[in-house]
C-alpha cells in the first residue's frame, strides 16, 4: 500500500495534490436473507471481483450480532472510502448496521476528543429500494427523497468528519430482474467503484446529487 495522506474534509477539494494513487474502499454489506435476494446478490458478487475493494458480509461475520469493535475500527482505519451496501428496510438500513454504528463509532475514535480516525474519509450508501423512484419525493407516497431519509446517516458521517456522498441507489428493486434493469445497474456500480478507487470521480459535481447514479457520465472522468 502506498503511503497515504488523508483527504481534506472540505467538500470543494478536488483530486489534485493527493499523494496516493488509489483509494482503499471498504464495502460493508448487510442482507439478512441473502438466499432470497435478487438485487443485492449480483451487486455483492460484482463487488467481490473489483480489485482494491474490501468486502465484508456483516451478517456472515457476526451471525449472533456480536460485533468485534476493535476489528471493525481497524478496518475503518485502513480504508479511505466507507460504503454501506444494503437493501432499504423501513427507510433505513437493516438492523445490524445500527448495532454496528452504536458500537464501532466510539467517542475518542470517531468523534469527540481525539476522535479523528475517520476524518477526511468518504462515506456513502449503496442501496436497493423496493419503492419506485417517483415515490421518493414530496408528492410521492414516500413523501421524502432518499437523501432526506438518509439524513441521520449524513449527519453521522459529518460528525465523524467524513464526506457524505449521495447514495448509489436502485429503485423498484423487487422488479429490477424481471424488467432487465439489474445488469446495467451492476455495470454502473463497478464503474463507480473503480472511479472512486482511481480518483476519477468528480466529488464536487457528485455532492449535491440526489443519487450518485443519476448521470454517471457527468461525474466520472475518463481514465
Amino acid at each position: 500500500m502506498p503511503s497515504h495522506e488523508p483527504l481534506a474534509a472540505s467538500p470543494g477539494r478536488t483530486e489534485v495534490g493527493v499523494t496516493t494513487d488509489r483509494r482503499r474502499i471498504l464495502c460493508l454489506f448487510a442482507h439478512p436473507s441473502i438466499d432470497r435476494s435478487e438485487a443485492n446478490r449480483p451487486l455483492f458478487a460484482a463487488t467481490a471481483a473489483v480489485a482494491g475493494v474490501t468486502l465484508v458480509d456483516l451478517y456472515a461475520e457476526y451471525p449472533s450480532g456480536e460485533i468485534d469493535v476493535d476489528r471493525e475500527q481497524a478496518r475503518l482505519r485502513g480504508h479511505d472510502v466507507i460504503c454501506f451496501m444494503h437493501p432499504l428496510y423501513w427507510y433505513s438500513t437493516p438492523s445490524i448496521f445500527k448495532e454496528w454504528q452504536d458500537l464501532v463509532l466510539e467517542h475518542g475514535f470517531a468523534y469527540g476528543v481525539g476522535g479523528t480516525a475517520l476524518h477526511g474519509k468518504l462515506f456513502f450508501n449503496a442501496l436497493t429500494a423496493g419503492g419506485p423512484e417517483q415515490a421518493y419525493c414530496a408528492a410521492g407516497y414516500n413523501h421524502f427523497t432518499i437523501r432526506e431519509l438518509l439524513c441521520p446517516l449524513e449527519q453521522t458521517a459529518r460528525l465523524c468528519g467524513m464526506v457524505f456522498l449521495p447514495p448509489f441507489a436502485l429503485f423498484g428493486a423487487r422488479t429490477a430482474v424481471d424488467e432487465g434493469r439489474i445488469g446495467a445497474h451492476v455495470t454502473d456500480w463497478v464503474r463507480v467503484l473503480e472511479a472512486l478507487r482511481d480518483y476519477r470521480l468528480d466529488l464536487a459535481a457528485a455532492l449535491p446529487l440526489t443519487k450518485l447514479n443519476a448521470d454517471l457520465d457527468a461525474i466520472l472522468l475518463e481514465p
Partner: protein
C-alpha cells in the same frame, strides 16, 4: 446401667416435652431447656447429685460449639475482628470486674475477694448467647458480631484469670484452706492431669506455643489428607468418628497444657474453615453439639438450689438484678464508644448482661483456692444461674420492644455484595465447573459441593474452591447454607439422586429456585415433576453448536445457520412443553402410544419447519425479512 438409662430417659423426656412448647411460645430453646431442668431437678426431684457430673460432660457442648463457630470464621475475618476482640472485649471484662470489686470493697469485703467476684461476673454465657443469636438469625448483625467478639475475649481471658485467682486469696482465709488443693495452676479446676505442673514461666510459654502451633499445623497439613483418605473409604460413620476424634483430641491436648479446650477447638475450626471438609465436619458435629448444649442448659436448671434460694430470696434477686444492670450499663457505654448501631447497642447490652457457665467453673476454683468462702459461693452461683435464666427474657424484650421500633425507622442499606445472593452448586464435574466459573466471574458467591474428595482436591489445586460432601444429604445442604441461598444448581451426574435432591429441596426450602441438569428428556420431565424451576439437557447445546458448525462448514451462510439453530431450539422447546402432559399420563414411553405418535409428529414437523418450500415463506426461518409482494407499491400509488 439401669440408672444411666433412667437418667437418660428423664433428661431426654424433659427436653422433648419442654423445648418444643417453649419454642412455640416464642421463648426460645434455651429457656425451654432451663425450664426442663428446673422441672426434673429441684421441682420433681427426679435427678439430683449426678447433675454436676453430667454438667462436666455437657460443657463439652460449648467446646463443640466453638469448633463450629471457628469453622464459620475464616482466618481473614478473625483478623479483621481483632480490634473489637481486644478493645471491646478487654474493656468489658476490665471495667466490669473493677466496678464490682469497688462495690464489694464498699460493702466491706476484702479487695481480692471483690476482684474475684468481679471477674466471675464479668463473664457472660457463650452457650446461651450464641445459641440464641443463631436461633434468631442475629449472628451476622453488627450487635451479634460485637457480642461474639466479647465472648471470644472472655474465653481467651479465662486462662489468665485462672492463674490470677489463687493470688487474690485474703490472708485470713487462705490460712484455713492452706492444706487444700490449690496453687497448682489452672489444671486444678477440674482436677485434670497436667503436663505443665512445676514448669518455669518460659517453659510454660514454650509448651503453650508448641501446642497452638501443633493445632494449627496439624489442622492445616495433617487433617486434610486424613479426611480425604477416610472420605474415599465412603464410610460415613467413620468420617463422623474422625470428626469427633479431632475435636476431642484437641480438647484433650489443650487441657494437658492448661489451655481452654474451647479455645483450642475454636482455633482448629478457624484453621479448617478454608478446607474442603468444612461443611461435612459442620453437619457431623452439629447434632452432638446441639444435644450436649441442651443437656448443659438442663443441668443449669436442675442445679438451682431452691433451699438456699428461698432462704435468701431477696438478697439473691437484688444481687442478680444489680449485677445485670451494672453489666448492661457497662456494655451500653462500650457499645456507644465503639459506635454500634442504636438497635445493635441494645442487642449487645441485653444479650451479654448475664453471668455465664465460666462463672460456675471460676466459683468452684475460687473456693478451692480459698478466695471465696463456700457459703458465699453457693449464693453467688445462684445469682449466676438466675441471671442465665433471665437472659431469654431479655432477648424477648429486645424482640418485642426494640426490634419493632427499629423496623419502622430507616432500614439499613442492603449489603451490596450479597445483593445477588448465594448459589449452592451440587456437583463440580465438567458441567458444574462451567456454571461455577461463569457465576464466580460475574461476582456471584457460590458454595460448591461434590462427593468426590479427589475431584475437590484437584480443583483446589487450580484455585477453585469446593467442599467435600454428599449434597443429597439434607444436613449437609443445610450446613452449606441452602436456607439462605437464592438458587440451588444441581449438576451431579447421578440421575436418581438429582431427582431426590429436587424433591427434598422443593419441600424443605420452597423459596429456593432450583436449576437442574438433565440427562435426557425423560430425566428432564422427572426433574420438572419433582419441582425444578428450570431444567437443561446436558448435551443439547453442545450438540446444536456442533450441528451449526457442520452447516457452516458445508458453506451455508452463517446468519442463515444461526436462524436455523434458533428455529430448532424454539421448535424443540415447544415440543417438550406440549408433550409433557402426555408423558405425565403414562411415563412408560414404550406403552404410551399417544406420546409415541406425538413424538413422531414433532420430529416430522421439525423437518417441515426447516426445509419447507422457500416460496411459501411461512416457515420460521424464512418469515423474517420477507419483502412485500412485487405488485405492492402499485396499490400504494393508487392511494395517493
Amino acid at each position: 446401667m439401669d440408672g444411666m438409662l433412667f437418667h437418660a430417659f428423664i433428661y431426654l423426656a424433659a427436653a422433648v416435652l419442654a423445648v418444643p412448647i417453649a419454642n412455640r411460645l416464642g421463648l426460645g430453646s434455651v429457656l425451654g431447656y432451663l425450664i426442663a431442668g428446673i422441672l426434673i431437678g429441684p421441682t420433681l426431684g427426679l435427678v439430683g447429685a449426678e447433675t454436676e457430673e453430667v454438667q462436666h460432660v455437657a460443657e463439652f457442648g460449648v467446646v463443640m460449639m466453638l469448633f463450629l463457630i471457628g469453622l464459620e470464621l475464616e482466618p481473614k475475618l478473625l483478623w479483621e475482628m481483632r480490634a473489637r476482640v481486644l478493645g471491646l472485649g478487654g474493656l468489658q471484662v476490665l471495667i466490669t470486674a473493677v466496678l464490682i470489686a469497688a462495690a464489694a470493697l464498699l460493702l466491706g469485703y476484702h479487695w481480692g475477694l471483690g476482684l474475684a467476684i468481679g471477674l466471675i461476673f464479668a463473664m457472660s454465657s457463650t452457650a446461651i448467647v450464641l445459641q440464641t443469636l443463631g436461633e434468631k438469625g442475629l449472628t451476622r448483625t453488627d450487635g451479634g458480631q460485637a457480642s461474639f467478639a466479647v465472648l471470644l475475649f472472655q474465653d481467651l481471658s479465662l486462662i489468665p484469670v485462672l492463674a490470677l485467682i489463687p493470688l487474690l486469696a485474703a490472708p485470713g482465709l487462705s490460712g484455713l484452706w492452706a492444706a487444700g488443693p490449690g496453687g497448682s495452676g489452672a489444671g486444678a479446676a477440674h482436677g485434670a492431669i497436667s503436663l505443665v505442673v512445676g514448669l518455669p514461666g518460659w517453659g510454660y510459654a514454650l509448651v503453650v506455643l508448641g501446642a497452638v502451633a501443633l493445632v494449627v499445623l496439624a489442622g492445616h497439613y495433617l487433617s486434610r489428607p486424613l479426611f480425604r483418605y477416610i472420605a474415599e473409604s465412603g464410610l460415613r460413620e467413620v468420617f463422623t468418628a474422625s470428626a469427633l476424634l479431632l475435636v476431642i483430641g484437641i480438647a484433650l491436648l489443650m487441657t494437658l497444657v492448661d489451655l481452654s479446650p474451647a479455645l483450642g477447638t475454636f482455633l482448629a475450626g478457624v484453621v479448617l474453615a478454608n478446607s474442603e471438609f468444612r461443611h461435612e465436619l459442620q453437619s457431623d458435629i452439629e447434632p452432638f453439639k446441639g444435644l450436649l448444649l441442651g443437656l448443659f442448659f438442663i443441668t443449669v436448671g436442675a442445679g438451682i438450689d431452691f433451699g438456699i434460694l428461698s432462704a435468701h430470696l431477696a438478697t439473691v434477686i437484688a444481687l442478680t438484678l444489680s449485677v445485670m444492670s451494672l453489666k448492661m450499663a457497662v456494655l451500653l457505654g462500650l457499645a456507644r464508644l465503639f459506635r454500634l448501631q442504636p438497635g445493635d447497642q441494645w442487642l449487645f447490652a441485653l444479650g451479654l448482661a448475664q453471668a455465664g457457665e465460666f462463672g460456675f467453673v471460676l466459683l468452684a476454683f475460687s473456693v478451692q483456692n480459698a478466695v471465696i468462702p463456700a457459703e458465699l459461693a453457693r449464693m453467688l452461683s445462684l445469682v449466676v444461674a438466675l441471671s442465665m435464666l433471665l437472659t431469654p427474657a431479655l432477648f424477648i424484650a429486645y424482640d418485642r420492644l426494640i426490634a419493632p421500633a427499629l423496623r419502622t425507622g430507616s432500614a439499613p442499606a442492603p449489603d451490596s455484595i450479597d445483593e445477588l445472593g448465594t448459589v449452592v452448586i451440587a456437583g463440580i464435574g465438567r458441567f458444574g465447573q462451567i456454571v461455577n466459573r461463569l457465576l464466580l466471574a460475574s461476582g456471584v458467591r457460590t458454595v460448591v459441593l461434590d462427593n468426590r474428595a479427589d475431584q475437590i482436591d484437584l480443583l483446589r489445586k487450580v484455585g477453585i474452591k469446593g467442599y467435600y460432601g454428599d449434597a443429597s444429604r439434607p444436613d449437609l445442604l443445610h450446613a452449606a447454607g441452602i436456607s439462605q441461598a437464592r438458587l440451588f444448581v444441581i449438576a451431579i451426574d447421578d440421575q436418581d439422586r438429582a431427582v431426590k435432591m429436587v424433591e427434598h429441596v422443593r419441600r424443605t426450602y420452597p423459596t429456593v429456585k432450583i436449576l437442574a441438569r438433565a440427562f435426557d428428556v425423560r430425566h428432564l420431565y422427572l426433574l420438572q415433576k419433582a419441582g425444578a424451576d428450570l431444567v437443561v439437557r446436558e448435551v443439547f447445546d453442545s450438540s446444536l453448536t456442533l450441528g451449526v458448525a457442520a452447516l457452516k462448514a458445508l458453506g451455508m451462510h452463517p446468519f442463515k445457520v444461526e436462524r436455523m439453530a434458533r428455529a430448532f431450539r424454539r421448535h424443540e422447546a415447544e415440543g417438550l412443553t406440549s408433550m409433557y402432559d402426555l408423558w405425565d399420563e403414562n411415563p412408560d414411553i414404550a406403552r404410551n402410544l399417544v406420546l409415541q405418535a406425538r413424538i413422531r409428529e414433532h420430529v416430522g414437523s421439525l423437518q417441515d419447519a426447516l426445509n419447507s418450500d422457500r416460496l411459501q415463506l411461512h416457515d420460521r426461518t424464512e418469515r423474517g425479512w420477507t419483502p412485500p409482494p412485487r405488485g405492492f407499491n402499485r396499490e400504494l400509488d393508487g392511494d395517493e
